[in-house]
């Protein structure tokens, strides 16, 4: 369908439509009383999740009491998705938020939206629910028009009732549907409510789950209790590739009170007991008495940055723009000139480090069906994975998402669910609650990959970047199981072990944000995918964290070379107005801030994935070399996530993103020796404590007429670069290897 662009379309809107290409939107002036005044929007392309599941009642059920139930295939991971989708549905249906209840991801119940990941919940699930709710409103009005024998344009839907505009006649949902549900599919065109009429969307609506949390109601998977539920712990090898040699289970049965069953399958060991502390007692006994053989050693002879570049690699040229031949000719032999710059940056393995270790409840019932309660980010993919692991038909597996401790990506959630399923199968008929220990989580979760970034660039006589080359070495950034049981931790431990087959293609997650948004005529990006020594998977931002740290640090190094202000240097290389706006906003935010001796400001910017939210971060740090301290004092972010659904939710995510990324940047690094991970608890893997946390300030550039952009991961990379750049301004020393710890200052000369 061809797009129509009426004359009132603004330039920015027109540019936007051009840039997204596939999305065509036409405006119509208010048609019908229901739409009220103002311009409503007719969308003619369905959001991805909705296109796969176009039935209205897959997303929305109309309840008898004038309420609606929204079904999302996404899960709550602390991002407030429950509230955001309720806002969206309440808006399109003109009802109060109290009338909307939300069902989170559950197989057989909600749409299959795969994983709650990639900052995509609003863009996919939220927009699907918006369209489904708008279609529901259209259908309800149509039904009412027929029942009341009036035109739909003479009807208005509000607060669970449909009334004629003269107010004389009304119908409740119950009278209208008579116990039936809305039928049919969301069909184009869908007429959306005029944004000028919004009551809920764009407002800082409170999350109702926070009150349930402070009241200590059962919110988390850890809080689930079922009649007859038993408790489990697992026992892990003493080395990363260790194998079980001996465990005297008969002796354990005599020694451990309450022990119901010990499950041993190869090197997978689990204990089931009546009470949780008894299961823990069994685990403690196993730690003391089980004997293991060591597997192959982990590589410790080479430093990790060096190791990454020497491992066998699959290389992909992800970007090749303009003409790099003159650049290659000069870099081949000659020494670097004033106009060229090279730098190498490193990001270590990082941990998700959830405060609550992973947990799951599993029940193998009398009908040979398996039920799982999990904080996994993907109930349908987990179901398929468990079906393959347990050789069961997926229809016999029911997976329900329940919130857990924040995960920030793919932590131990899927692994613990698989462990629980294996144990429940061995002990059918009772709910088995498996709680991982702190050590289980720290040592065995799939980490965020270590990365090395080599950047080379050239400036012209005006100080503009003419050539840019980026080489990235990294393992993959996602091994979410997605139906492949060998991705699960248990799979490598079983008597018939399975190991993931390394990917043969280079995942784009490695070079996420590896291409700068800056206008640079000649560019090359080579990605070298290597298999590192540790288990890895998706950690908030994936490759973007390391890549933005590197390229935004490098931008400051180039600005210095070009003798330009870091803000101006970025602005002159940008054409995207929204990108410029967030950078300019940060300058506004700090204009009254002063620097004391030892303090510095630093800027970092990225548009997440080069297509989601725009975010610029400024850090203010204090460096005291003689004291051996680097402190983040204050972080400011300006963020443009397009149409903001819930500004307080967006602020909360951005504040938290900056604080978490500061902890990653200044403190964190997963360490290992030949045998095993040595970062095993909070003393050996320290994260920010309250005395270290900077003040945070967030400014939102709301663009209600633009589409919403994923924002939950936008601050991670910019924060790292902002801190590195601020440390440089504070003390003249450039740290290119994360974490930015004070001891590294000693090894670096001032530039």
């Amino acid at each position: 369908m061809a797009a129509q662009y009426p004359s009132q379309l603004s330039h920015s809107r027109r540019d936007f439509i051009k840039s997204v290409g596939c999305l065509t939107i036409a405006f119509v002036l208010g048609s019908g009383a229901d739409v009220l005044a103002g311009e409503s929007v007719v969308a003619d392309e369905l959001p991805e999740s909705l296109a796969k599941n176009p039935r209205i009642n897959a997303w929305l059920e109309v309840l008898a009491n004038g309420r609606v139930r929204v079904l999302t295939g996404k899960t709550e991971i602390g991002q407030g998705i429950r509230t955001a989708v309720a806002q969206i549905a309440a808006e399109e249906l003109n009802m109060s938020m109290e009338r909307v209840e939300v069902v989170l991801a559950e197989t057989g119940r909600t749409p299959d939206e795969r994983y709650t990941s990639g900052s995509a919940s609003i863009e996919t699930s939220g927009m699907s629910i918006r369209y489904a709710a708008a279609a529901a409103r259209q259908q309800l009005l149509g039904l009412a028009a027929r029942q009341l024998r009036v035109k739909a344009s003479q009807l208005r839907l509000a607060d669970g009732m449909i009334r004629t505009t003269d107010g004389k006649r009304q119908l409740s949902f119950t009278q209208l549907l008579k116990g039936k549900q809305l039928q049919g599919e969301v069909k184009l065109p869908v007429q959306l409510k005029a944004k000028s009429e919004y009551q809920h969307v764009g407002k800082p609506v409170r999350r109702d789950d926070i009150e349930r949390m402070v009241r200590a109601e059962p919110v988390y998977v850890q809080d689930l209790r079922f009649p007859g539920m038993v408790h489990a712990r697992v026992l892990r090898p003493t080395s990363y590739w260790g194998k079980l040699a001996k465990l005297d289970t008969a002796e354990m049965q005599r020694q451990i009170p309450g022990l119901l069953k010990t499950v041993v399958d190869g090197s997978f060991v689990g204990f089931i007991a009546e009470k949780e502390c008894q299961a823990k007692g069994a685990q403690d006994y196993g730690i003391q008495h089980a004997q293991w053989t060591n597997g192959p050693a982990l590589p410790t002879k080479q430093a990790l940055p060096e190791l990454l570049t020497t491992l066998p690699a699959i290389t992909k040229r992800a970007v090749n723009k303009g003409d790099m031949s003159s650049f290659d000719a000069t870099t081949a032999g000659s020494a670097p000139t004033d106009a060229s710059l090279s730098a190498r940056y490193f990001k270590p393995y990082l941990m998700h480090a959830s405060v609550g270790p992973s947990c799951a409840v599993a029940l193998f019932d009398q009908e040979d069906s398996l039920h799982i309660w999990t904080h996994s980010q993907g109930v349908y993919p987990l179901r398929n994975t468990l079906a393959a692991l347990l050789k069961m038909p997926p229809e016999r597996i029911h997976v329900k998402a329940v919130p857990g401790s924040g995960c920030y990506g793919h932590n131990g959630a899927d692994d613990v669910a698989a462990d629980a399923a294996l144990l429940a199968r061995a002990y059918p008929g009772r709910h088995v609650r498996l709680q991982w220990s702190r050590d289980d989580e720290h040592a065995w979760e799939p980490y965020g990959s270590a990365m090395l970034m080599q950047l080379d660039a050239r400036l012209d006589s005006e100080g503009s970047i003419t050539h840019w080359q980026n080489n990235i070495w990294s393992d993959t950034h996602s091994t979410r199981p997605g139906g492949k049981p060998e991705s699960l931790l248990a799979a490598r431990l079983l008597a018939q072990p399975a190991l993931p087959t390394p990917a043969t293609e280079v995942s784009s997650a490695i070079y996420r944000n590896g291409e700068p948004l800056y206008a640079i005529p000649n560019q090359r990006l080579d990605t070298h995918y290597v298999q590192g020594p540790l288990r890895v998977s998706a950690l908030r931002g994936l490759g973007a964290f390391g890549n933005v740290f590197a390229l935004e640090s490098f931008m400051d190094e180039l600005a210095l070379q070009a003798k330009q202000d870091p803000w101006e240097f970025r602005l002159r290389h940008l054409t995207d107005k929204r990108a410029k706006a967030v950078i300019q906003r940060t300058r506004e935010m700090i204009k009254n801030e002063k620097l004391a001796p030892g303090e510095g400001f630093g800027l970092g910017f990225a548009q997440y994935k080069n297509q989601a939210a725009y975010c610029a971060v400024v850090a203010k740090v204090h460096v005291a070399e003689e004291m051996g301290t680097i402190r983040a004092l204050h972080l400011w972010a300006a963020i443009d996530a397009g149409e903001t659904i819930n500004p307080d939710g967006l602020k909360n995510q951005t504040e938290g993103g900056m604080i978490q990324a500061s902890s990653w940047t200044l403190k964190e690094e997963v360490l290992f020796n030949e045998q095993h991970i040595t970062s095993r608890q909070w003393e050996t893997y320290p994260i920010f404590r309250f005395d270290e946390v900077p003040a945070v300030t967030v400014s939102i550039i709301d663009r209600p007429t633009e589409k919403p952009l994923g924002a939950g991961e936008a601050a991670q990379g910019p924060t790292a670069a902002a801190l590195a750049n601020a440390v440089f301004q504070a003390c003249g020393k450039r740290i290119r290897s994360l974490p930015i710890r004070p001891e590294k200052l000693v090894q670096i000369k001032e530039s």
């Binding site: 407030g80 109601e217 857990g404 401790s405 920030y408 005395d691």
Partner: protein, 157 residues
């Protein structure tokens, strides 16, 4: 060997039959069915399992049940008033929306309640020191600080 213990939890005498070495956390969660204190590390490093012993905030994950028979134990549940209204610290965390996943919220709220009994008007650094034991991974620290200041103000007035 299991033995009987009478604990004073949230204003009530509760009798449990457990091994004397059982950490209080397990008794509170598994024998008494409470949700407030959470398992985080079992090493007294993260504060997720914080409870009040009389008026002091203390992690419950390594505290043998045999040692706390004489203390008045308060969990997050016990802060809510009998009429269902929230303690000012609980209310301030709701008002400031000081949570993301909320798993660490117990440790923050319990630590803050203990702090405000000895420091009714704490400054920023005093609050940070009082919450030093509590780890938060989502990064809601700045909101927690704001909530605790707000609670202090509301309790004073």
């Amino acid at each position: 060997m299991e033995a009987e213990f009478t604990l004073h939890v949230n204003g009530q005498a509760r009798t449990v039959r457990v091994d004397p070495a059982t950490p209080l956390l397990y008794v509170l969660r598994d024998d008494l069915g409470l949700n407030g204190p959470k398992f985080g590390c079992g090493l007294q490093q993260c504060g997720s399992c914080m409870v009040l012993l009389d008026t002091i905030a203390w992690p419950s994950c390594q505290l043998p049940v045999a040692n706390v028979q004489n203390a008045a134990i308060t969990t997050l549940e016990g802060l809510t008033r009998p009429d269902g209204s929230l303690h000012p610290v609980q209310q301030a965390f709701v008002d400031e929306q000081a949570a993301q996943c909320g798993y660490c919220l117990n440790g923050m709220v319990m630590s803050a309640v203990a702090l405000l009994t000895v420091h009714p008007k704490p400054d920023d650094q005093t609050i940070r020191n009082a919450l030093f034991r509590v780890l938060c991974r989502c990064g809601v620290h700045s909101r927690a600080l704001a909530a605790i200041k707000k609670a202090a103000d509301s309790m004073k007035s």
